[in-house]
Symmetry: C3
Subunit: 455 residues, 3 copies
């Protein structure tokens, strides 16, 4: 309330002016004149002046009372118009924050409903799936600390990113808890905002969440994250040490403004593998489905790679936005170190692009893609945002004695965002090559649709 | 604030009137008269008129200032009294809505605590159970779209109705996600509002949730719903297609007003059965417990019916409310189509009624029963609502080579609703006949109590 | 708003005073004098008086209008300053309450992130763990009733205290649902407020939650609780009755004020054991880890004790707070009744103490310890609260033919509470004796750290 300072002054001044004293000055002048001129007797003059003075006195009192009444009113107005201490908003989720910025709490959610029809071979099982059903609680306490609890109710339930974070240093966050390692642009981007329905075949090399500590810094034109991690939330190893790892990612965005983006990134991560329940074996395994999860059957699969000490992954990524057009590409190489056999190398890459038919654009925020907000939404005279998407993915899980297979596929799709927070997508996935591995020579095809709300 | 338009005008008028100018007119008149009469000299007259004019000027300025001050005050009052953009309410749950009707979000919950003692034979295990412990998040975004995420934490956790819905057409809803098929009045009625503690033996033929799409329309005197569905939320079939089905339900309520209801309904649903994990068999199975779930042991049970291609269910239902009295009856026939044997038919029915000892009534809302709100609640001088309930249920799961058994039972009970959202119920279930099947000739009896909050 | 009563009166009075009528009295006096003195003619006098009266009339109207305008303004101010019907606050969690005290709803949460390194022998597996990830929903409806739903998302998910409660009698609560039995001070104290990271070795004898009914009363200087319980939330026994039990606890706090506490308590509980799934056996088993849960491996363990009919536990506890110093001690004896062998007795005890290096103190609230609130928090010029902690625990699970083993350990630690609701702790656990049992003669050591938010 910028006004509240000068108003009492204005009121007080105007109040002083308002009182009928002004008129009294002419009347007094007149009375004095008439007395001087002998028009009123001394006795009459005395009574007039007495009356005048008494009224002056009364007027003073009245002025005072009015001033006080106004001040009370002002105080009540100040109280009535002061901003609330707590602000509650809802746009799907709930956000409650104290207006002093000390505390904030948000409930967020996400539901993805998938259906898939398949042909080609293997003719995977047609069906439906609740892909994700998530409830996340995030917030801020005492300005510098933030917290999160995130759970996916789908598929029996899984804990997602849940941590405590210190954000008292500018742009830097330190956090400990369960979180994703900083690796791959497609995993830094929320599943809600994935350009095609599922992430690419590079999912074989990413997406795990571990308990650990991480620091990151995010700027307009670059970001950096590094962390040390133990094992997953459910891993429990009574005698042998759990697995552990390190990971870091650096991104630069030399162009990042006015709907234009040029982004590069590189990341490396290391995992030391723990022994299995028998305490005898250290095992890793990589496999991947054809950019759809409804059937739940991997097409390429290394099987258990025994005697695996550790693996190291290297990733490179780039992304471009120019108005309605966007593209991204990633390459990942995974090196597996074995104790009693030669080391192994697997790799994969994808190139994907999207083009909005409507005047919309992808959103990039400090190293990751955000949610699309259609400019002309349904219900307000618009048709929402429509995006055509295309991806080519390639994955090679065969090396030396491990023949997991190679897979290449095209994935074309369309996204419809009728209003913010809603998304309906359709993808057609055409596996054009499977070489070696458990499904050598087969070519499954998938038609996949998803309905999604996320906020 | 209807007042806010005319108040500034009223204030402004009164303000103009208020200023002491009025008095000036008499004074001016007097001065002029005195001048005319020669009582004041020209020089004096000049001074008086000058003083008068100066004061007139001052008064004009004062008026203006006061007017401005009042306008500022009015503007602040307008601001202070304008309705909030967001409205938060709690009655157990939380509801946050924007007052423009665009957004709404609600947290809802439900807890049912059961205990059961048994006798008769088989003498089922006495015990306790958290029957349901649910958290549901529902809401509306951009006026026309709604969402829900519902989870039951009891028994290891199960996802319940979770979907996205379009409600932009009047009275019509289109939704996709996980939901119950539209079948049976007792399943259209929330478990919180079931007249007896558990639903009737027709539970053998209903209550499943599938992922699919559904449209429904609900009017004062009729409702219709139809949908196409895939399989359950957890079903995953890597090679064979998942099961699928269709379902629709039509209800009419020729009488539905002032505590009176006459309701009829009919429904049909079809399910195509998928193959089991081995990929060899298509199996269905129907079984039922004696209207209590604590012991968790079915009394009639068809076992796996092999070579089942599909089944079709037909349902008919009716319900009556007249003041404190209400009744409902349902009949369901299930036809199973087998690939290498004759088709099968199973059926069942129930008739139930309730009578409020207090001046309360069942609530019916567009094709389903709602929550009872006691008229004279505990804590406000009342004793809450008390309802006596009675049900007869009959189920026949024997046909041809499949001898699942027949079961008939009486279920009598009492419901106490001390305040809205709370319910305490007791049921005594007397199984009067079990013929054939795994418990042929046995007659278990159950005393079941439930404590419940739901909102 | 205490002011609102007298303000309208004040305003009205000041308003009457404000009107220019006062001035009129001098003028009228003057006019009358001048008329008496013959200075104005009768005709002039008539016009003056007419003008005067007309203006008096106008002034009356103006006064009335102004009064009405003020009243409207007052009414609007009353409306604008009246307290809201619903109050929303956030300090991590969300609390929504109606200001009439009838309804309240709160979302509360808790996350504990653990990491442990081990040496000694057995060299337990180093690793990490999400120890607890809880979301609790508590509230009040219609003033006298309260509800809770509490879920732990860690480790696959477990329902925690979930109930409905009647609190309409002063200080007395009656509740039914899933809850902890009233036993052991360390279990009455929330896991968030445990002085060392994990509770003591007496965890072997406590902490289970059962479905039942309980009443308790809590006063400044004493508390009492007693309940009857069925079995756990997940236990389902189709034919044999589930286990059941009774429990009660009495505490007295002769000194409890101004940072000083002297607390004594005693409790007894009885459990009747149910038969296992085979229906042949009644089994109990006691085991315990070394005050750390990351590795998940018990060090002492009775194994299944067959033919156990029931067990009875007796507990004694004491606690002291004096400024920054606090201590507590507990002893528990467990007697197992066997049907075909001699009865067994196991026992254990712990003594623990803490000392705040900063000017802080433990909080005691009616029979349990509460959350520490640092006096000088980080971010406001302070370093938070720092507490040194120490515990000695002893557990004996060997008696007669059952050789579960004896374990003694020292546990030293430090707690840092940078701000309310956050806690970072480190414990070093030195098992100084393991005699008999599965790990006879071994001496594991654990370094355990925890990061926690809880509100």
């Amino acid at each position: 309330m910028r006004q509240s300072k000068f108003i009492p002054i204005l009121l007080a001044t105007s109040l002083l002016a308002l009182t009928p004293v002004t008129q009294a000055s002419e009347l007094e002048l007149l009375i004095n004149m008439l007395h001087e001129n002998g028009m009123v007797s001394d006795e009459q003059y005395g009574r007039l002046i007495a009356e005048l003075n008494q009224n002056k006195q009364a007027t003073e009192t009245e002025k005072q009372q009015e001033l006080e009444a106004r001040q009370v009113m002002e105080a009540r107005l100040d109280e009535a118009t002061k901003p609330p201490e707590v602000e509650v908003t809802t746009r799907g989720g709930i956000r409650v924050r104290t207006t002093d910025g000390e505390f904030e709490t948000r409930l967020r959610g996400r539901l993805m409903v998938d259906a898939a029809a398949h042909n080609g071979n293997p003719d995977l099982g047609d069906g439906t799936e609740i892909r994700r059903a998530r409830l996340a609680w995030t917030g801020r306490i005492f300005h510098d600390w933030s917290f999160q609890l995130d759970y996916d109710f789908a598929d029996g339930g899984k804990l997602r990113d849940s941590f405590v974070s210190y954000e008292g240093f500018e742009d830097i966050r330190l956090r400990t808890g369960l979180m994703e390692i900083p690796f791959q642009l497609q995993y830094r981007t929320s599943s809600s905002n994935s350009q095609l329905i599922e992430r690419s075949l590079l999912g074989a090399f990413g997406g795990d969440r571990y308990i650990g500590v991480m620091g990151d810094i995010k700027k307009q034109h670059w970001s950096f994250a590094a962390g040390a991690f133990g094992d997953t939330a459910t891993r429990k190893n009574p005698i042998n040490d759990e697995g552990w790892g390190l990971g870091s990612r650096l991104t630069v965005a030399p162009i990042n403004s006015d709907g234009r983006l040029l982004h590069f990134g590189t990341a490396v991560m290391y995992r030391n593998v723990d022994k299995d329940a028998s305490g005898q074996q250290r095992v890793v395994r990589f496999s991947e489905q054809p950019e759809a999860r409804v059937a739940g059957r991997p097409i390429v699969d290394t099987g258990d790679i025994s005697n695996s000490r550790s693996f190291t992954r290297y990733g490179a990524e780039t992304a471009v936005i120019r108005g309605p057009f966007s593209a991204q590409a990633e390459y990942v190489y995974t090196a597996v170190s074995r104790s009693s056999a030669s080391n192994l190398g697997f790799d994969g890459w994808h190139l994907q692009a999207g083009y909005f038919l409507t005047n919309d654009a992808r959103v990039y925020e400090r190293g990751e893609f955000g949610a699309v907000t259609p400019k002309h939404q349904v219900g307000q005279g618009g048709i929402g945002a429509w995006e055509l998407t295309l991806r080519y993915s390639s994955l090679d899980l065969s090396d030396r004695d491990i023949i997991g297979g190679e897979m290449d596929l095209f994935n074309v799709g369309v996204n419809w965002f009728p209003v913010p927070m809603l998304r309906f997508s359709a993808n057609y996935i055409d596996v054009i090559k499977v070489k070696d591995g458990p499904n050598d020579g087969q070519k499954p095809r998938v038609f996949l649709v998803r309905s999604q709300w996320a906020f």
